[in-house]
Every structure is written in structure tokens, then in C-alpha cells.
């Protein structure tokens, strides 16, 4: 079957506020960068998919069509893709399906979200909390840090995972962000600084929590045969192909899931297994060179290692201490800085992960965060407390 290949990638800077532009301006920045990267003209794109989570955060319904016309893509088809935190990953998966089905031959995926200081942190928290159950979880004072904390405390009870092990993820990801010029919060942190940051919901402190970001990301995908015929000098550049896509779901309220699964992201495990089967991966730790995982909270990154089969259940904390997932480790995770250090702009996140993995596989990342010789990478994002999970595998497949 014809490979689905990545032709171009672009990012806007992720920032706590981008008052210098509106969301459609950031979208234009990311797409102009992706077009320049691809060498394509925008008229060569035959379909767009627009990934964003919240009409409330944007104060605008029907943004996708507005972005599409901002980019001069009318009268071509477009669609909005939405799945809370999994939005960007679901857009990649949809793009894969459009291209494989022959509905498109060259497709633009855009992810963007306005989560920065356009609204107060309290309002942003309330809007995100509205993606939990507004009849049952919101009225008792529920919020996302608390939901994740309830899962992590079970992980700590069951496996002895420590707050220091959580803090190490924050230190790693903020540290990696120092090597990404578009990252929101590059910072050299210590475990003690993370532990001393204000408590939000035990065990999570402020520096265990992902950022609130304004940002946009764009990826241009195409069928290889179309790219060979239409992209100038296609064969002279490194080629990155999307070789695996997995998606799975779980009960929206974590309390409704099987009781012994509270400390595990079951949907992520199933999504990973599906993506691995498609890409022919049986030993993820050995066969994957670099990964961007959904570190909405430090503990969510640890639970992702386990769900994605990087390590057995309960061992993510000690392995994290050994540095297995650091830039110099066996499987570097979140070289971009992730949602903790690079930034978290809901709909943009899953798309930005694909941008980072592509840069890594091309060998074009900043040398300080480039994983040497990376040939296969993984991106992973999820909604809610892993209600919807989307996992993708990218591989270097030069001609």
C-alpha cells in the first residue's frame, strides 16, 4: 500500500499569551512554516482537517472553516476534528484514513488552541473541567488535577511510586525545553524546587502540572506516490512515513472503570498495541528511538511509559530515576519539553508532537535535543483521564 508521508511541519511559538496575534494569526504562522518546509504551494493541498478542542476558549464557534478560508483553501473540503486532549492525535488518524481511502492525496492538518491568558487560570480550569461530567464530577468540586491525583495516589499506594519520581519528570521535561527555541517554559529545575512548588491536589504541585498555552501546529501529509510526482526534490530529502495508528477508549468517569485498572491507562495500552501491530513493533523499548507522550501531569507520563509497554506496570518510577527516558537514555521521551515544558495548547498538542517526531527522525532538531540516529518515533495523546487515546508511529523511510 502507498505510504503516508510527512511533507512539511510548522509551529507557532507556544506562549502563555500571544496578544500580538489572534488564533487565526498563529494558525497562519504555523501553516506558512509548514508550506515553506514542504516546498509546496498552498493550492496543492486538496483537503484540510482542523483540530481544536474548545469553542468556549476561543469564543468562536466554527473556527475550522474560518482558518480554512484564512489559508486560502476554499473551495476545498475541510472538517473539524475534536476529542479533548486527543484532538490532535485524532486529526492525524483521520488524515491517515482520508489519504488511505483516496479522499485526499495531499492534506493539511492544523491544530490550535487559545488556552493562554485570554481567560483567567480559574476560567480555563472551569472550561476544561466542563469536559468532565458536569452532572456528577463538577458539582462536587472536581477538577482535572484532582482527577489525575486520584489515579496517581492509587499508583503510589500500589507500587510505591514517590513524589520525587514524579518531580524528576518535571525536571527532565522543563530541562529538555531549554533546547527548543519555540518552547514556553525552558527551565533548569531541581527536584526540591518541584516539591516546594504550591500544592494543587496531592500529590500534584504546580510544577507537576502542564502549562496553559496559546499555540498552533501544522503538518502536511500526502501519499508517497503523489509526493514523488509533485514535490520538488522529494527523493533528496529524508522521508518520514506514518506507519502506525491506534486509538482506543475508556469510560469517561475513571470511577466507572474496572476497580483494579485505576492506576493504569487501559485505553492507551490498547491504542499502543494497535499502533504497534500496524507498524510491526513487538519490543517497544528496543524498537522505538524517541517518543512524545502526553505529560498532562508528571504522573501521567509515568503511567504512559507503562501503558505503552516501555516498562512493566509499576516500574516507571524507578526506571525514571535511572534516566532511561532522559535525552541520553535508552528511550528519550518528550525531547521537545512536552506539555510541561514546551507547552499545552489542547488541539495543537497532538499535531505539535508529530512536528517534533518528524524533526527528530529527519535529524533536524536542535543538536542539543536531537536523538542521534533516530529512525522510529512515537506520539501519544489522550483526552480526559485517558478516556480517548491516540498513538502514532513514524518511521524514516527514505527512497
Amino acid at each position: 500500500m502507498d505510504d503516508v508521508v510527512v511533507l512539511g511541519c510548522g509551529l507557532s511559538p507556544f506562549r502563555s499569551s500571544r496578544f500580538d496575534g489572534s488564533i487565526r494569526d498563529w494558525v497562519a504562522e504555523a501553516v506558512l512554516a509548514a508550506l515553506a518546509d514542504s516546498g509546496l504551494e498552498h493550492q496543492q493541498i486538496d483537503q484540510s482537517l482542523m483540530a481544536y478542542e474548545s469553542d468556549h476558549l476561543a469564543g468562536q464557534i466554527g473556527q475550522g472553516v474560518i482558518w480554512h478560508d484564512t489559508l486560502g483553501l476554499t473551495p476545498r473540503p475541510t472538517a473539524r476534528i475534536e476529542g479533548c486532549g486527543a484532538t490532535g492525535g485524532l486529526a492525524l488518524r483521520s488524515a491517515f484514513a482520508y489519504l488511505r481511502a483516496g479522499l485526499s492525496r495531499c492534506l493539511l492538518v492544523v491544530g490550535a488552541e487559545r488556552v493562554g491568558k485570554s481567560v483567567s487560570t480559574a476560567t480555563a480550569g472551569e472550561i476544561f473541567a466542563m469536559s468532565s461530567d458536569t452532572d456528577w464530577e463538577l458539582p462536587v468540586g472536581g477538577h482535572f488535577t484532582a482527577y489525575y491525583a486520584l489515579l496517581m495516589r492509587e499508583h503510589m499506594r500500589r507500587y510505591g511510586t514517590t513524589e520525587e519520581q514524579l518531580a524528576l519528570v518535571s525536571v527532565k521535561n522543563h530541562g529538555n525545553a531549554r533546547y527548543h527555541p519555540l518552547a514556553q517554559k525552558p527551565k533548569e529545575l531541581t527536584v526540591d524546587e518541584v516539591l516546594a512548588s504550591p500544592l494543587i491536589a496531592s500529590p500534584y504541585k504546580l510544577l507537576d502540572c502542564s502549562l496553559l498555552s496559546d499555540g498552533a501546529a501544522a503538518v502536511i501529509l500526502a501519499n508517497r506516490s503523489w509526493a514523488q510526482a509533485n514535490v520538488p526534490r522529494f527523493s533528496e530529502r529524508p522521508v518520514v512515513a506514518l506507519t502506525g495508528s491506534g486509538c482506543a477508549t475508556d469510560y469517561a468517569r475513571a470511577g466507572d472503570r474496572p476497580r483494579d485498572a485505576l492506576a493504569h491507562f487501559t485505553a492507551k495500552r490498547l491504542a499502543g498495541e494497535a499502533a504497534y501491530a500496524m507498524a510491526g513493533i513487538s519490543e517497544p523499548l528496543e524498537e522505538i528511538d524517541v517518543a512524545e507522550v502526553y505529560d498532562s501531569y508528571t504522573g501521567a507520563e509515568l503511567m504512559a511509559y507503562e501503558a505503552l509497554g516501555f516498562c512493566p506496570p509499576g516500574t516507571s518510577g524507578p526506571l525514571s530515576e535511572e534516566g532511561v527516558f532522559s535525552l541520553q537514555g535508552e528511550l528519550p521521551v518528550n525531547p521537545s519539553g512536552g506539555l510541561l515544558g514546551f507547552g499545552a495548547a489542547a488541539g495543537a498538542t497532538g499535531v505539535a508532537q508529530a512536528v517534533e517526531i518528524t524533526a527528530q527522525l529527519r535529524g533536524e532538531a536542535d543538536p542539543r535535543r536531537q536523538v542521534a540516529g533516530a529512525k522510529r518515533g512515537l506520539s501519544d495523546c489522550h483526552a480526559g483521564t485517558c478516556t480517548v487515546a491516540a498513538v502514532h508511529i513514524f518511521e524514516r523511510k527514505d527512497i
Binding site: D20, E126, V140, L150, L199
Partner: protein, 172 residues
Amino acid sequence: MDPKVKLELERLRADDPLGRSEDPFADFREVLLLGLEHRFRYRHSLGKSSRFFLALEEGVLLATRCERCGRVWLPPRPVCPNDLQVTRWTELSGKGTLESWTLCPRAPHYARTGEPYLLAYVALEGVSTLFLHQLRGVGPDALQHGMELHAVFGNEPVDHPLERFWFEPLEL
């Protein structure tokens, strides 16, 4: 500031966020900020879950039981997701055990609770799922996984019917 434009908050001059020597958007660095507000009020039905909330008036906790697979769901589900059978209401003892908890020093503004507050997953007697609610009358240091809890009903006026009860340790 233009006093004739009531929504105007601020005007400022932005820099190129990428700090390029030749800013391609040099013509577009004047910025005007407005203060916008939307207010929506919903006539929101609690639908087929309503009986749970109405029973709280009598100090009773209800859940839904599936006659086919025996699962008891709370929050209630009129249709069992396991086999899509229509369920029946069943009365609970209100007793349960502590499965997981978290201490939140600050409450979100919509929470209408004191600070700090504790949120917990409670394994209610006779229920297949875990129920999320507040723990009161106990500090975090006294909490233990598996400790016995019970639902306590308040008499104070509340906003949302879920606030009519919470959980406390059965004995301290």
C-alpha cells in the same frame, strides 16, 4: 484609550515573538485588546437521573442495577453499558470504603466548598463503580485506604442537589 469604545481594555505595540531581524509582519504590530463577556443560562434537565437527586431529600442514596448482568452503576445509568438492558433503581446502605483521595488546598470558584477540601473515590456497598465526592470531618493524616465511610446528609441550603451529602469516616 478611546473612551468612545466601551469594550476597549488596552492598546499596545507587540514585538515579533521570534525576534527576527526582518519581521515579516512588521506592518501588523499594533494591538488592540477588548474585554468580551458571554453569559449563558441553561434550563438543564437531570433527565432519567433525576430520581437519584430527588431521593437525597429523604436522606437516601439510590443506584441503578442491571437485572441481566447484576452490575450496579452509580452515577446511575438507565441503560446498562454492559448489555444495554434497561436498569432498575436500588437503594444503598450509604456505607462504603475509601479507595483513593486527594487534598486540594484551594477550591475552584465553582466548587462552593470550604478550603482545604478532600476529594475521594468511595467504593459504596453494593455498587460496582467508584463514586467521586468530598470527604469531610477528617484530616488527610487520618485517612487510610479501605477505611469505612458513610454518607452524611446536611440541612443547610445548597446550590446543586449533589451538595446535599458528602462522606465521613464511620468511626474515628
